[in-house]
Symmetry: none
Subunit: 232 residues, 4 copies
DNA sequence: GATGAATGAGCCTTCATTCAT
DNA sequence: AATGAATGAAGGCTCATTCAT
């Protein structure tokens, strides 16, 4: 089994919404609850659940600290709401993928859609990594309702086609994991790459390039069943 | 430019030292300072700097909370000492790589050594991810003294050989990043994979398999200069 | 140069506000910030900055310990606010003295006003003594913005009139110091005198008597320029 | 009743032993217990009982913090020992005064001896003021075993001679207090005067001048019974 | 006698949360 | 719905004291 990588860097219109500005300020015209969620996403992604102070969220949302409690009963509940809001669209995208007839075309579309979503909410990846690393209460949900279906979906796809060589079944899990590393990991490690290279991986250019890399991988992994022009 | 993946799963003797047991207890016979560092590594990796309570570290180290301050002046200083201790061996490995005459052989050796080190200290990866995501004070150090040399080393290696096709130079950075995702990311996301698949990526089997994946990647990326049988 | 003392003990209506009750309780109807300042004055005057526990202040003020920090950023800041509040009126009294045309009459008035103020805030003297003895951060301010003008004022007054005998100029500083000892020192040493004699120097009687002593001193020191009946 | 002041400033050889150097270091050749007491006196006088850290004493004494407990069972016990050592010579001086046949000559001698002792241990005054102001446990001892006899002695002297005018009996207490203010208060307030005037009241010159002031006062208060040349 | 290491208690301060307005 | 004020519950850190060596 082989994977070939070929990258081009033509830039499309994917843009980031939130930066990692430490002095993030939510859109004042938005409804209060949404302002709170937006602000929370940024702060939680940077400080983690334990390290986040509700007053910092309140300041970023432009409301009084006590007002948060008109919308969410506790910091933990707010945290879960943020996670929920960030992850639900991803689950829906994957459900769509599972139901698609043409795996190859849909895989490319889904991956691009996922990257698009992560570009719009670049903190979701960080939230997920933090939750995973801290083995928080949300991790089982993350694992079973979200990541497990992805694995099973990908593994199912790979099993459905003739394995070109004598390949360990567990490789399929590796492939699914690889996608995770290259999509979510791209955003999670963005600050390191940014500081080391001077280029922001969450910029339109950086995101497009990573998306192309993922598409190339798909072309390598799902080549035969679809008569696809991109396939190498 | 192509990368082909071929995996086998023969397991070797790489073993993990620390689990992610929430009730970690440092080796009582070790010297106090080392017990504190060991315990801190586990707790910081799980809770992050802000979320860690010194009392929890003390309990895990089997010492009184006040004793920590006989060895480290503050929680932050302890945190930095943990990071330093975890990262220094990696820097030294990479320096060795930079000085090696045979890139291909040394690359395989270094990658295996890195994975070996991460297997022995599986929390180092998590610490790094947390530091990156939270954009902590140590991030610039991480970026410039550690990750930047890796990138430059890999980029230098790749530039030194004939580029088979019209390839964007920035790809090289992507390759370096890929190694990061597949080595450190492997350990950082381990809890998620463990929960989703039931298999522990930090087990000897899981680590060996990931190491093989990385070696295969190296065989693909550094094939020509060394008359190497693995090269595809 | 001579000073003659003659005392009478007719008591006037000078009354003390705060005792040295160890279980001091601030006026519950006052605004919180003022309650905190009142309580702090009592406790700081007794325990000093280092010896004071914020919880004791909070208890004396009738508020929660955390509430202090809604008004003052730290124990030190609260301490300075207490000193400032206690000393500012004294500075203003002295500025008034400096601008007065009739030194003798105004000196008597100022001294009585100072004693009146110290009677109302008998802990201010103690605070000053503690600050001086511990050579705290506020001591330079105390010396240059407050005590130095007093000395210069008194010295200026004394220099302006014919020195009756060959007197060392430094005597004037001694005279200023003498007033300090007899006014502030009276309150600072009150607990000792109270315990030794059974009479409270901060009682109306005690204060009036000390005020008369100071007035007598003034009559001796500023006799000639004013045709004053009290002058001996 | 009159008191006349006349000062001269001829300097004698009274010298101070300890400064108020914040980095006081006890004489290394002295016996350990004495080194501890010397160091404690300096630190307690500046920080008070509550504000003093035993480690600071130990550092100033040049011993390990634990060694203090080979000599004194607790910080409080050490504090009392320091007070005791500082005050006992004063009590003995006063007992000598009480037994003297010639009050006037002995008063002058005692006052000079007291000032001499305070000059050698300028922190004793501060310790006493701190103890009085904080109303510490030692205050009753101070009041009854030490200050009360002084008062009674002075009052007794004054009562024994014909009162020149109609004088309140309580004046006698005032006179005793006056001596306290002008001797102990001189050292207690020294840092303020030093900072305000630039001259150190605890220097030989400053002490001599204050001693002359006290002698002049004695000459005024005990004039007739002794045919003394200094009497005005 | 001297000391490095260890610790229980407690202190200043922060923080999530509540409540009256 | 919004907020200023208030607070119980920690959290980081210090400190007096103990003890084995």
């Amino acid at each position: 089994m082989f994977v070939s990588l070929r990258l081009v860097t033509q830039v499309t219109d994917i843009t980031t919404t939130f930066g990692t500005d430490p002095a993030f300020q939510a859109e004042p015209t938005a409804r209060t609850e949404e302002r709170i969620l937006d602000a929370s996403e940024v702060v939680f992604a940077r400080r983690g659940l334990a390290g986040t102070r509700v007053r910092e969220i309140a300041a970023a949302a432009g409301v009084n600290g006590a007002s948060l409690y008109n919308y969410f009963p506790s910091k933990e509940a707010l945290y879960e709401a943020v996670l929920e809001r960030g992850i639900r669209p991803l689950s829906e995208l994957l459900a769509e993928f599972a139901a698609a007839p043409d795996e190859h075309a849909s895989a490319r579309r889904i991956v691009r859609a996922v990257m698009q979503h992560l570009a719009e909410r670049p903190h979701v990846s960080k939230l997920i990594y933090l939750e995973v690393i801290s083995q928080g209460d949300y991790l089982p949900t993350l694992a079973h309702k979200w990541f497990k279906p992805i694995i099973e979906q990908i593994v199912g796809e790979l099993e459905a086609r003739p394995t070109p060589e004598h390949v360990d079944e567990d490789l399929f899990v590796h492939v699914a994991t690889l996608f995770l590393h290259l999509s979510f990991g791209h955003f999670a490690l963005a600050p390191l790459l940014h500081a080391a290279t001077g280029e922001d991986p969450t910029s339109p250019v950086g995101i497009e390039r990573q998306t192309r890399l993922l598409e190339t991988l798909i072309d390598q992994l799902f080549p035969r069943l679809a008569s696809d022009p991109q396939a190498g």
